[in-house]
Subunit: 236 residues, 2 copies
DNA sequence: GCAGCAACTGTCAGTATTGACAGGTTCTGC
DNA sequence: GCAGAACCTGTCAATACTGACAGTTGCTGC
């Protein structure tokens, strides 16, 4: 017999389309008592212009508004989710720096919500928000549901990132050879080609050879970019 | 009134010594029915020689044995925890590649266990293992406790990494200026100083100036190392 | 007003990296 | 036996980075 969690997990892991996956997640959120559900995913690369994807069943008018005003850049829940794994519940205090966003959200019926983020081993961040219009979230309810919500955040992200990571970051499953990995590791630690050649007892030319192969495999512009990509993607 | 989770969280966040913290975590594990508890933490830097810390109340003889045979390098639970956020339950199948380790562990009374890892926004990985000698872990028990165990994994790591990150990676709280961050971001994406000077409309010399300041603040040997450190530590 | 910081710019010599030239060895799987 | 991969090595010219020289400007907080 499978546990409830394993069943849920298996379901979420077997779905191949991200749209269907989100529908399933939203319905699990609904079972937990939340009409609205939003899942956001942020790739760690490229660093200067990070890619963010959002799946949501919020009212479309609010989604449009949110995008038009670029609320993503100032949303305190997003800000929190970018630097903490702890769940956060929507409060007046949380939204105090951006009163306008908060008032507008409430006018669209988004009054009570809870968000939590997670970071996987490819460096991809996922954030799941569950929200509703009517009933405030009580301490008692939190106590009862916190675990399930955390679990849903995690499994939702596992499923979604499985679908989306290959599209957003094709380099994530580059196969680096052992030598390429070793050389990149030392490079990332700040060693020059000459130093690495001493460490590995090979010619400096060979070090550069492996570095260049890694640069090509990672579709990087240079050594620095290759080292950063490999490190962020957990290839080292 | 605070929820059970918030209380636990607050307790774990208020303790300052990592030893005391581990004691508290172990007793929470005990409440969940597991006599043995191990928490391992792995810093993402340096890449070539990563630092790992382990806190454990396993029999000391087994801990010594584990270290002597360098089982850390082959332990399948560690291997799993390094690349997946999913919990893993000890099974014969899991340990099939390293029968020796598994037989020895059992001889020390480590028969039934469950491990899960987590990765925070500094890139630090934490893994919590709960184990016991006598009673097998049933599906029913898992279903009942999975959420709490996941929660404990998370809060344990939050507390432990709060204590240990400053010691292991002092650069983690380096304060980079806005320009330093911008320049490092583009550097990490593979742009040369000349390209960045065009992007930011400043002289190439100025780009190098900011890069050098960042290198100093991050205690890095060169540009590449600075970019990798900043990226892995989430400073960008 | 002034200290301190962030941001900006210049030159120059020495060192490192990149890209393109052209190979050889060793091992694994079919 | 042979293809393919990983691993290894050499030279050379162009480009990029590093470190040390020596400043100016503008803003913030005391």
């Amino acid at each position: 017999m499978k546990t409830w969690q394993e069943n849920q997990l298996q379901t979420l892991q077997s779905i191949q389309s991200e749209q269907q996956l989100f529908q399933t997640i939203a319905s699990l959120g609904s079972e937990l008592g939340f009409d609205y559900c939003t899942y956001g995913l942020r790739a760690p690369l490229p660093l200067a212009t990070p890619k963010t994807l959002i799946f949501s069943n919020y009212p479309t008018a609010w989604q449009a508004r949110y995008q038009a005003k670029n609320y993503l850049a100032v949303d305190p829940t997003v800000h929190h989710g970018m630097r903490s794994l702890l769940p956060v519940v929507w409060t007046d205090n949380l939204f105090s720096p951006v009163r306008e966003l908060w008032e507008e959200a409430k006018s669209f019926g988004l009054r009570y919500g809870r968000a939590q983020s997670i970071r996987d081993f490819n460096g991809v961040i996922g954030m799941l928000t569950l929200a509703r219009s009517n009933e405030p979230i009580t301490e008692t309810e939190l106590e009862a549901k916190q675990f399930k919500m955390a679990w849903l955040t995690q499994t939702a992200h596992l499923g979604m990132s499985r679908c989306l990571t290959p599209k957003l970051m094709p380099e994530a499953d580059a196969k680096l050879s052992n030598r390429e990995i070793a050389v990149l590791r030392w490079t990332a630690d700040g060693k020059t080609s000459g130093e690495i050649s001493s460490i590995l007892n090979i010619a400096e030319r060979t070090v550069n050879f492996h570095v260049n192969n890694a640069i090509a495999k990672l579709n990087a512009a240079n050594k620095t970019s290759a080292a950063v990509k490999a490190a962020l993607l957990g290839l080292l």
